[in-house]
Subunit: 188 residues, 2 copies
């Protein structure tokens, strides 16, 4: 066991993000991250399982948070409205730090491995939302379609938001993208 | 170079599907597949890069086919209608053999590796559809939202169709799922 290192977690995260942007994700080694943060590799591994986890840490908590919000949606909400409640909660949690999200998104887009991991993570969230909708009494088709469509909207919205040069509110971008979807499907 | 073996390709595919269903995908070795098909492992590798390819062979052709259909969509079609034309063509190509699709789907659902691969494949199709919509002059938001939503509908429809006990027409299931999406988004 090493010494307790105050702030090592956030120093490691900042060092990793810097290095991923400077050198690329694949080219950055855990030893480089530890060195930049001024700690040992052993300290790194007390905080993260591997360098990928620096990018995806918190994903499981986010899923729980999103599902807990869904459970509190009004009983009268439609399947898609129920999913919107869950996505809005996700946005409240993630939308606070636009600068970090923008950098994180650039790193994910630069690496096939990270893009696949992000895709799998969103698919896992979609499956859990679908399951929760079924438990609320929605039919199979409503549940799977509302979850899959909600996640599609979320993904498009998140990329719009994280890719924008100016700061914005992720919750508003999600709402706006949902309105856009309604126009797109109603137009025919 | 080995001898030419008539029908080795389809014998290998049938043997692989049987074994994946009997023993599981992870537990089946290339040597087992070759043995069941009555050919050598060397013959297997002349037809497939690995055992996963037995399940995903043709995916690249399918993408091209789908994009070629999109290019022929009427110029007056909306972004979502244009995607529907591409998905309908995909269904025409894939929807012919329900028995095979049902088995293939059961195999994919049984393996985390195959589920991830399928997800990545659909995401790649979505990105290509989006790009094609942009080339047709649709704005970024219309293009990304129509492609992502179209793929969400396709995925739900394909799982409904492949999971159904009775034979059905994949094209009809896609059309029906799209109508259902319109109802879901219009209901609020």
């Amino acid at each position: 066991m090493g010494r307790w290192e105050p702030g090592a977690d956030s120093r490691l995260r900042e060092a990793a993000i810097e290095l991923f942007l400077e050198r690329g994700f694949e080219q950055t080694m855990v030893a480089d991250i530890a060195e930049r943060a001024g700690v040992t590799a052993r300290t790194f591994f007390r905080h993260f399982a591997d360098k990928r986890e620096v990018i995806f840490q918190g994903a499981a908590d986010l899923e729980e948070w999103s599902l807990a919000a869904l459970e509190k949606a009004p009983a009268t909400a439609s399947a898609l409205e129920t999913v919107e409640v869950a996505l809005d909660a996700t946005a409240r949690l993630l939308g606070g730090d636009h600068g970090f999200a923008r950098k994180r998104q650039a790193i994910i887009e630069s690496s096939a491995e990270l893009r696949e991991r992000e895709l799998i993570k969103l698919n896992s969230l979609s499956a859990r939302l679908e399951e929760a909708l079924r438990r609320r009494g929605f039919g199979d088709l409503d549940a799977s379609l509302a979850a899959a469509t909600g996640i599609a909207v979320y993904r498009v919205a998140f990329e719009r938001w994280a890719g924008a040069a100016e700061d914005g509110d992720l919750r508003e971008v999600i709402r706006d993208t949902m309105i856009h979807l309604r126009a797109l499907t109603a137009a025919e």
